[in-house]
């Protein structure tokens, strides 16, 4: 008979546990049917699939899950969560993985999404609302593409579709919300 070493088959479920604690989703329910991957509109841009992410989570392969671009190409379109025969909210699991990556400050290749999210959240914190013109301008500036979508932006300004100045809606209200949330998380 072949001999299997115990350490070779030991499963590290701490990653799955963390996902379960944060999202209320059990990744062990996934039986790899690939329905999520088949329906994913962003699949062609990913270097993995949502199905693979579920497997990495089951096997505790944190690095494999985090270092691929897959989690950063999820469009949050909810197709996978809608179609999963095991009723796993896969988009929520991927969101949770994104949050864990950001908390652990793992670098997400050159993806601009984490920066975009931070800029937008900062605007909500200090202004109460999204300030679209400022969001686009600061994102393009920080990512070194200051002329991206310039023609479209000018057209939108001409049509009165972009407000050049932000509106401040009771900023202290949102600032207080953010600080109370921060305290709560500690």
């Amino acid at each position: 008979m072949k001999v299997v070493k115990q350490e070779d088959i030991k499963l590290d479920s701490s990653f799955a546990e963390e996902i379960a604690r944060r999202s209320g989703e059990n990744v062990f329910l996934c039986y790899q049917c690939r329905k999520c991957a088949s329906g994913c509109p962003s699949r062609m841009f990913m270097d993995g699939t949502p199905t693979e992410l579920m497997r990495y989570a089951q096997l505790g392969m944190v690095d494999e899950a985090m270092k691929k671009n897959t989690i950063w190409y999820c469009l949050s379109c909810q197709t996978c969560s809608t179609r999963c025969p095991q009723d796993i909210d896969i988009a929520h699991v991927i969101d949770t993985m994104r949050i864990i990556v950001q908390e652990r400050k793992i670098k997400a290749d050159d993806n601009k999404l984490p920066l975009f999210n931070r800029l937008w959240m900062t605007m909500i914190k200090y202004m109460g609302r999204a300030y679209e013109a400022g969001l686009v301008a600061s994102l393009n500036l920080f990512t070194g593409r200051p002329t991206k979508d310039m023609a479209l932006g000018m057209k939108m300004i001409k049509k009165g579709k972009l407000k050049l100045l932000p509106s401040f809606k009771k900023p202290f209200a949102t600032m207080k919300m953010f600080s109370r949330a921060k305290k709560l998380k500690k």
């Binding site: 379109c77 959240m121 609302r129 479209l152 049509k159 809606k169």
Partner: protein
């Protein structure tokens, strides 16, 4: 009928014509929309990707503000993303521990009895198709409309409560009431790439191209939408798509409220239609709608 109105950030800026046309159409149908005072951003795309607690607290705060808006119990959210985030928060807040945390963050009680409605729900379910039909003075006869729902108006069904989430027909019924025809097509709930327009444009250009191509292949004259981001991508990115893929799209993209307004005899300029990036003037002239 009186409802609270939560326009969201986009309707105050890049999709102002959706705000204008929704208000006009609702007024004409006898629906009074009372804008929620001092509403804040719902957290939209970024919150759920980087701060789980705030992704629930921001919508919860807005629902608390709805309650303060003359005690109204129904809120109309025309933006599919706002609608989705409000509905997701309601579902998540059934969890008592999370609700306690959120109430601490928003420093007020969370009202659990508010009904969140997308503008399309308000029109088709609260006002009713027949009432719309009665107001039609300029029937959109022969107009072939590809009704595009995108992701969040129907998905996930656990959140939206929609029975037909893969092949919805709510907007098609509305278009028929206006005299138009809702075409049968494949991409009605396919994702347009959403906010990736700003971070990874190549994703949006490819996905949006597929949607435009499918609508064209079934002979649709226009595409009708109910989401500011879908409109921004389908309407605003056609030039970039044509340049990148050597295509020749000039498809007018309308908010369903704009098509309603036109059929109800409201002038195109009063509906904000000329704010579109893809020109619609020739189309409107051809159809004698201006």
């Amino acid at each position: 009928m009186k409802l609270a109105y939560y326009p969201g950030c986009s309707l105050h800026s890049s999709s102002i014509e959706y705000d204008i046309s929704t208000r006009k159409v609702c007024a004409a149908l006898g629906v009074e929309l009372v804008e929620v005072e001092d509403w804040i951003c719902c957290g939209s795309s970024p919150a759920h990707q980087c701060d789980d607690l705030m992704s629930v607290a921001l919508p919860a705060k807005n629902l608390a503000l709805v309650r303060e808006t003359g005690g109204l119990k129904e809120v109309c959210a025309p933006c599919a993303s706002c609608y989705s985030r409000l509905k997701v928060a309601q579902r998540r807040l059934e969890d008592e521990d999370l609700r306690k945390d959120v109430e601490m963050v928003i420093d007020s009680k969370y009202p659990d009895d508010i009904e969140v409605l997308h503008a399309l729900d308000v029109i088709t379910e609260k006002v009713g198709i027949d009432a719309v039909k009665e107001k039609v003075v300029r029937s959109l006869d022969g107009l072939k409309v590809a009704c595009y729902y995108g992701c969040l108006m129907t998905r996930p069904p656990k959140v939206t409560g929609k029975g037909r989430f893969e092949n919805p027909i709510q907007m098609e019924s509305l278009m028929e009431a206006l005299g138009a025809e809702g075409v049968d097509w494949n991409m009605k709930t396919f994702c347009c790439g959403a906010a990736f327009a700003l971070t990874q444009s190549d994703v949006v250009l490819e996905l949006t191209r597929r949607i435009l191509a499918d609508a064209e292949s079934v002979g649709a004259d226009v595409i009708s939408v109910g989401c500011p981001l879908c409109h921004a991508n389908l309407d605003g990115r056609q030039t970039q798509i044509n340049n990148k893929f050597n295509t020749n799209f000039h498809t007018p993209i309308f908010y369903f409220t704009e098509l309603m307004g036109l059929a109800m005899g409201i002038e195109a300029k009063d509906l904000g239609i000329f704010k579109h990036i893809t020109e619609v003037e020739d189309f409107l002239k051809e159809r004698a709608l201006i």
